[in-house]
Subunit: 215 residues, 4 copies
Amino acid sequence: MTNAIVLGGSRGIGKAISDALKSIEINVFAASKNDIDTSSMKSIKKFLENQNQTDILILNTGGPVPKQFLDITEEDWKLYHNQLFLGFCTILQNLKINDGGYIFLISSNVIKEPNPKLIISSAYRAAFSEVFKILSKDYAQKNISCINIAPGPINTDRTKELIKNIKKYEKDLPMKRLGDPEEIGNFVKAIIQNKIKYLSGVTINFDGANSNFIF
Amino acid sequence: MTNAIVLGGSRGIGKAISDALKSIEINVFAASKNDIDTSSMKSIKKFLENQNQTDILILNTGGPVPKQFLDITEEDWKLYHNQLFLGFCTILQNLKINDGGYIFLISSNVIKEPNPKLIISSAYRAAFSEVFKILSKDYAQKNISCINIAPGPINTDRTKELIKNIKKYEKDLPMKRLGDPEEIGNFVKAIIQNKIKYLSGVTINFDGANSNFIF
Amino acid sequence: MTNAIVLGGSRGIGKAISDALKSIEINVFAASKNDIDTSSMKSIKKFLENQNQTDILILNTGGPVPKQFLDITEEDWKLYHNQLFLGFCTILQNLKINDGGYIFLISSNVIKEPNPKLIISSAYRAAFSEVFKILSKDYAQKNISCINIAPGPINTDRTKELIKNIKKYEKDLPMKRLGDPEEIGNFVKAIIQNKIKYLSGVTINFDGANSNFIF
Amino acid sequence: MTNAIVLGGSRGIGKAISDALKSIEINVFAASKNDIDTSSMKSIKKFLENQNQTDILILNTGGPVPKQFLDITEEDWKLYHNQLFLGFCTILQNLKINDGGYIFLISSNVIKEPNPKLIISSAYRAAFSEVFKILSKDYAQKNISCINIAPGPINTDRTKELIKNIKKYEKDLPMKRLGDPEEIGNFVKAIIQNKIKYLSGVTINFDGANSNFIF
């Protein structure tokens, strides 16, 4: 049976991916913050004691509270360095992905269009995207596909925290709506279900035609 | 019933997309060069007399014979300007895409990593990618998704023409193989089948982890 | 003596570059539209009869009148295909750049962030940027540096035509002002004057911190 | 009098920038590792006790020893997180750049084309590039220009450590040579000397036409 670990799998995009994978008979471990706190190296190491391999891994975690640059403390940087970067590196150093598997990174559109309110997230998610890109070439040799999904405004609790007037915000979006987490869930599911392997080493903006840069 | 027009639909990636869409009961017009010669404005206009709307459009066409820059003639530029750029613009100006539809552009990885042997293709495919990006925002208002797939080395007749020793070439690829046209066919099918709409205005490298740039 | 040809050298950014190069004793041919009309292949060929080599070449030309996609005619496309793409290709195919020389392309920030009002410009300037990138590697072997400058909002007649209320527009810019053509003129001058050669094959956004994409 | 602080100013690219700025009568503090060790938060804070403002700041530091991903320890990540990211953030949070000033970041071409041997550098230099991009918009309001120079292979001790057979390596470069540190030094000098301010929020590859991606 195919096994999947979905980090941040109890809510938002992570939950949508978990649900979509369950629908095609994949054995999903939808890890909640109780199972693994990606901001704590201790928690990550404990998680890795019990998990040493999987077929599918979804690297997904929430972002920090918005803060202006001058207000960010050394503790903030270090906490989110763990959560958005070092934790994921440690997982990839210690968790075996079985041959023919998949790793999806759920990053954010801020990696390509950095956001002043989300400066911590822009920085560390970009950093990990660099690592993920490099590793995609090694994983390719084992037929493991690495796909970086960079969501734009998706209808999650997180987005509702960040944006006050959602209705007004939606009017300015090209599609006049936030994306549905299920669209990302189904996208991940569809790639796995159709055994699409050659899509790898790529960052896919998932933002309803909202970005402005060409590539 | 859902209708699709697949340009260059009789071979290679176009055929794979046609076949995949047919498998989910879409009414596919797999246009061959006899139906529409995208290098001829006359042929394009004639085609548009008989086709004035569709739900799904696949913009796909072959590339030029490799030529060094100094050997490219004014006639070459103009021919491929028609084939790779002006024809597609004319089609989008005259063919109605029904609300909720999809447009897929099959471009090439040379748009992001231009290739000296494929200079004409690099230039005009990039030019049309700019147009396509701009239009994605208008189409978004009608819930039409625009997806630019930029394939790397795929196992088609075209690739076999361009690369002499395929076996040797494959050894240097991260996945040790060319991509299958069916992987792209199934990718397109899966997006449509799963009604994924928020993926739009995006260029997706489809190259088996072969590219080196970060985004 | 060092010679330079500056296309579109009689006004705007072209004039500023001409003036800056003259100030360091370079023999500048500031070509006006009377000398060469880059929208006319006939005019370009005539120009090339009289010019067969230079040390420094500035590829620079005005852009088209803004037009919505559906209003662009086949004649529009072809005219600006000449002006923004084919003319420059023809020049590079026929004009010898002396060893150790420089080629500057003055493109536009729309190549990276395409603009719906400037769709023709976005497309063809991007197309030529691809050609220029490819050629930079060949030119490098003769110690010729190729630099693509992509200006943002610069204080030229062109910008005043495109933007109605300049004062209001400037308030939304990060630097609260348009760029000065002289800043680009001096930039080009400084690179040549300081014999900086290793800067090549690069696109340099020149936009007063106005762009939003990371690279 | 104009003051400049050049981090890593005693060797390589930093020294070349220091020397170039001194040649135009700028009062340069070429900080060596004895003055500030950017891998030590303690050293950085001590440095900031004595330095609280400058007109020109050059953010420049060496990179880590090459290591394969699986060999990188938590201590390695944290050390270089300080050196390549957190130290620079702390400096920008505490050091006032005077109105009309300049900040140059000397990053690396690995931020756009990540390198498996330089995975730590690729990650954290990209992360800081995101922060620097965001801040460029704030600094613009005080007429402070932020320029990210991403050098390719430059003739420094560092490059000689990384590449065994330099002569052979140079033959494969488009310009058949490494770049000179002085070219970067003179580039920085020329921008300041010519009061070019509108060049800001930009990443400039400085690599002798060596990169392959279009933008």
